[in-house]
Subunit: 461 residues, 2 copies
């Protein structure tokens, strides 16, 4: 039997097994594996064990690894001569507060008919239990048809993704040899806004930096000292205001070193997305992109670095008024990075910039928060083109290479620690309400997601 | 007997009665008249009654007026043919926390020897019970020598000065006819830093303004939206930073309308003060005046308007880092006014200025806080020159006309409601620790303060 025939058998198997697959997902979703809440530590472990049991039954060689936090589940299929792939998902979920905004208990899953089609409603349905089960179901169907699992698979399931992944990097370092594959496949992203399938091929990096400006050794009375003594809020405002010029460009010297214009292939894909910035911004009460002059909205979001002030505080900002000339002001600033921008160079340039604004008697101190470079995947790797084509066949419309404005730390960790690029493919929708009450996952996402993996696996074997 | 001889008798009487006067003050200070604390309302009234009793014994016609808050005490001497003077002081005191920083109970006054001379240590010793008793003791000595009180005196003692004077303006309006005098004399200020006597002849005004910048209808993820959506902290920083130019001048159009350079007579007095800005700033951990280019430090503090940011808040400023692109940012800004600057014009110019920085999708809203014009006394009134000369005779060094950078609301209220200028004379020292633990008042301030009033009264009769 040829690959095509077997693929058809797998797809048929998936279609016929959809309800059974949904029942498995419902059982998985019943486990309240909230990783941030110590009271749920036992539930997180139960979810790990549930996965381990399911994978063992499928024929994977499974290990549940203890960590200082929640367990890591790894699984391997039999060795073969295929290209090795590491599939990643996470089995922990976000907290559920505010509980009173849920229409039903978050861990009592239901398959609902809605005007937009059937959905699975529960905490974790989309992020990420439903998503990770799409590839597990694909492996199950493959096994049923082929009699064996796809060879050379490594699976990694994390239980701390929603609580900052404290154990992840040490675990990757300690298990680098077992986990290294030729490509990582991460199923924790979504389709494009219009529903078409997408592969996320670039993620912006991030540098977080806190700056504190100190002046007098105490808060002063603004009547007595105003006009004579330095005001650290004003110093901070002047330094921050000067971070961007009137074209929306970041002014730090050397900031754009390593930033590259979009490759023509990606530019075409992004153009074809027909992204409607007005509609996108309209959902959050905005209407007009304000970014770098001469850039498209998607470029601004995905392929251009930026500087944002995430927080600022100084003096008295409560009710009423206090005529204080404060001793201190502080801000948290982050830079989103693209291309090969050097996060430490950006950090240093920002610090130099702030220091240039310091008058006599003002001091700046800096607290470094996380830094990660942008992730730009090498789409000349044939796996990308094959996966893109497979997705197009499943969904009946061209898949798109897209970017993401935020970082997905796991992709950077895989690159940095294991030297692997990541192919980010997920089926979530913008309206899945992840991290919010009444989270859902479309049954279509689940069903066609599993079918997509069957096609991709076939294409990559 | 001539006026000079009688003055000498009064001064001698004051010297001989100093210990008895200190005992009276100690009794007054024992009353914990903390006006902000409702638990002390009875004590505040007890202090009013104590004063009323003392003044009645001296021959004043005294009324204790109920108000919605704490009582107002008014007193009148007999009518005569002298210029009417309204003396003002306040008998309430600041709270005492943190109590553990006091070396002894704040309402158990003690007369202490210190390396700098004898001091009276207690809450209220300097602010303002000790100060107001300087003129009461002068009236007492006058009565002892002349047999009658100085004629045409009106006294006003407030019990809410330390809690924002909520009843004062309604009271002044309701009693305008009885309270109007040709000049108000306020004893709630200090000597100059070097100890020389001083008359405060100008006070800066104040406009307080809160500005809120709103953008999206919720906090956004700075990864997803950074570079595309307006950041209200950045908008606010840019508007605030542009409030001053690189010469330290406020950039609002028309801002300096009504600001006047210092009259030569005042410029000479201020020059003669030998103000050491480095020493002054050194006390609060600073060293270098940073203000308008080309202005002396005292001009910056007393005779130049300024813009200060009193508070700012937006986004996440707590521990750690949140990659939020906030929906809102806010700041409290105040302008100190001099000359005849129009507070409402300044407010309007600031609002126009902020609006010029608003990109699409950002809205500014404004909350008005208090506004008061600058107070500039007419020193061509002979009372000023006479009082200045009398102070010089008592203290053995020239008295100085000085300014104050903050506002003293009562002076503005007297001007606005009663049409009276105020002569601000007090004897407090910079190191009196008013509003702080271990408040004190120098016995020298008390003794020579009372003697100063005897001289001034004599000169003005």
């Amino acid at each position: 039997m040829g690959d095509d025939a077997r693929l058809q058998d797998i797809l048929t198997h998936l279609d016929q097994g959809l309800e059974a697959g949904l029942e498995r997902l419902v059982r998985f979703l019943r486990i309240p594996s909230i990783s941030t809440d110590p009271a749920h530590a036992g539930d997180v472990r139960a979810a790990a064990d549930w996965l381990a049991t399911d994978l063992r039954e499928l024929g994977f060689e499974v290990t549940v690894h203890d960590t200082p936090g929640h367990p890591m589940v790894t699984a391997r299929s039999q060795p073969g001569r295929a290209r090795s792939l590491l599939f990643y998902g996470h089995y922990d979920v976000q907290p559920v507060d505010p509980l009173d905004l849920w229409d039903r208990p978050p861990f009592d899953p239901i398959i609902e008919e809605t005007p937009q089609g059937r959905v699975i409603r529960a905490r974790g349905a989309s992020d990420d239990k439903g998503q990770l089960m799409t590839f597990v179901e694909a492996f199950r169907a493959w096994k049923a048809v082929h009699g064996t699992l796809p060879s050379d698979l490594i699976l990694l399931f994390e239980g701390e993704e929603e609580s900052g992944s404290p154990s992840l990097r040490p675990f990757l370092c300690a298990h680098a040899e077992e986990l290294r594959a030729s490509l990582a496949v991460i199923c924790d992203t979504g389709r494009h806004a219009d529903g078409r399938p997408a592969i996320t091929t670039q993620l912006r990096g991030l540098v977080g930096q806190e700056v504190v400006i100190d002046a007098a050794d105490r808060d002063l009375h603004s009547g007595s000292f105003g006009g004579l003594a330095a005001n650290p809020i004003m110093v901070l405002a002047q330094a921050l205001a000067a971070l961007k010029d009137d074209q929306g460009r970041v002014t730090l010297p050397g900031f754009y070193d390593g930033v590259e214009d979009l490759a023509p292939e990606l530019a075409r894909d992004w153009q074809a997305l027909g992204f409607d910035a007005t509609e996108f911004l309209g959902r959050v009460g905005l209407s007009t992109p304000i970014g770098e002059a001469g850039r498209t909205p998607l470029e601004m979001m995905w392929n251009r670095p930026t500087a944002e002030i995430n927080g600022i505080a100084g003096g008295y900002a409560g009710d009423g008024f206090k005529t204080v000339l404060p001793a201190q002001a502080r801000a948290k600033v982050s830079f989103r990075l693209t291309g090969t921008q050097d996060s430490e160079a950006v950090r240093a340039a920002f610090q130099d910039h702030v220091r240039r604004f310091l008058p006599a008697d003002c001091r700046a101190s800096f607290h470094d928060h996380g830094a990660s470079p942008a992730s730009v995947m090498d789409i000349s790797d044939p796996a990308f083109g094959l996966a893109k084509e497979a997705l197009g066949q499943e969904w009946g419309q061209d898949a798109a290479y897209i970017g993401a404005g935020g970082s997905i730390p796991i992709a950077g960790d895989f690159k940095q620690i294991l030297g692997m690029d990541s192919m980010l493919i997920g089926f979530a929708r913008d309206d899945d309400r992840i991290h919010s009450p009444n989270e859902k996952y479309d049954v279509e996402s689940y069903a066609k997601g599993a079918r997509s993996w069957a096609r991709i696996l076939t294409a990559l074997r």
